[in-house]
Subunit: 110 residues, 2 copies
Amino acid sequence: MDKIAVKTFFFAIGDYSRFSILAALLDKELRVSDIVSSTGIEQSNVSHHMVCLLNCGFVSARKEGKERIYGLNGEVRPIIRDIIGHIDKYKKDIISCNIADKDYIYRAIE
Amino acid sequence: MDKIAVKTFFFAIGDYSRFSILAALLDKELRVSDIVSSTGIEQSNVSHHMVCLLNCGFVSARKEGKERIYGLNGEVRPIIRDIIGHIDKYKKDIISCNIADKDYIYRAIE
DNA sequence: ATAACATATGAATGGCCATTCATATTTATA
DNA sequence: TATAAATATGAATGGCCATTCATATGTTAT
């Protein structure tokens, strides 16, 4: 297991905003403004995330007039689908831990 | 896409230490001391991570004497294998972005 | 009962980074 | 050329949480 690769992979994909963006790009290419409207993330924030996703090789971009169109790179499509599928299938169990409610994570839940 | 589920999933799996632990548990159950020696993570830190992984339903535990033995829960095995496979297959590309070297992530790489 | 071993718990903190706000750049149109 | 639209960039910051250290708990053996 390559540590840098693992860290980079999860850095790119493990943030909820970036994962939402990747999920939105699964089926079709999107302009920045499309990503903004479909994810609800503010424009400059989206742009920041796109830089990150570009750097990590998850997406590619091309220009069309004043718009920039982003598309998911092919190799990542299956793993993103798999992860979405897994989370969806087991969401009941995953949610049951209610981490969001905890004030501190590293604590036994009674 | 359930936001809480996605966040919880990546919280549990997206940290390098926890992912290493899960990877180490893929093939066999392990005592805490085994996890310590195979991952290099310090003991109390491992215990903290195990609480987290227990809470999120990724592992189960049983006692044997003074030892505690952790095992991966069955449903997560495939997705962890998939992710490891993906990272391994594309590590060259993933590493090429060299995020670790950057002083700031959200910046175009020339 | 005490020592040694295995693991868990608690509190504290320091670094990272997601977000925000302000502004720059690029392109198109009037 | 001036304006507007779309996107990118830069700097700043506040919160989260991984780690560490110290210590507690539990278990076995002597």
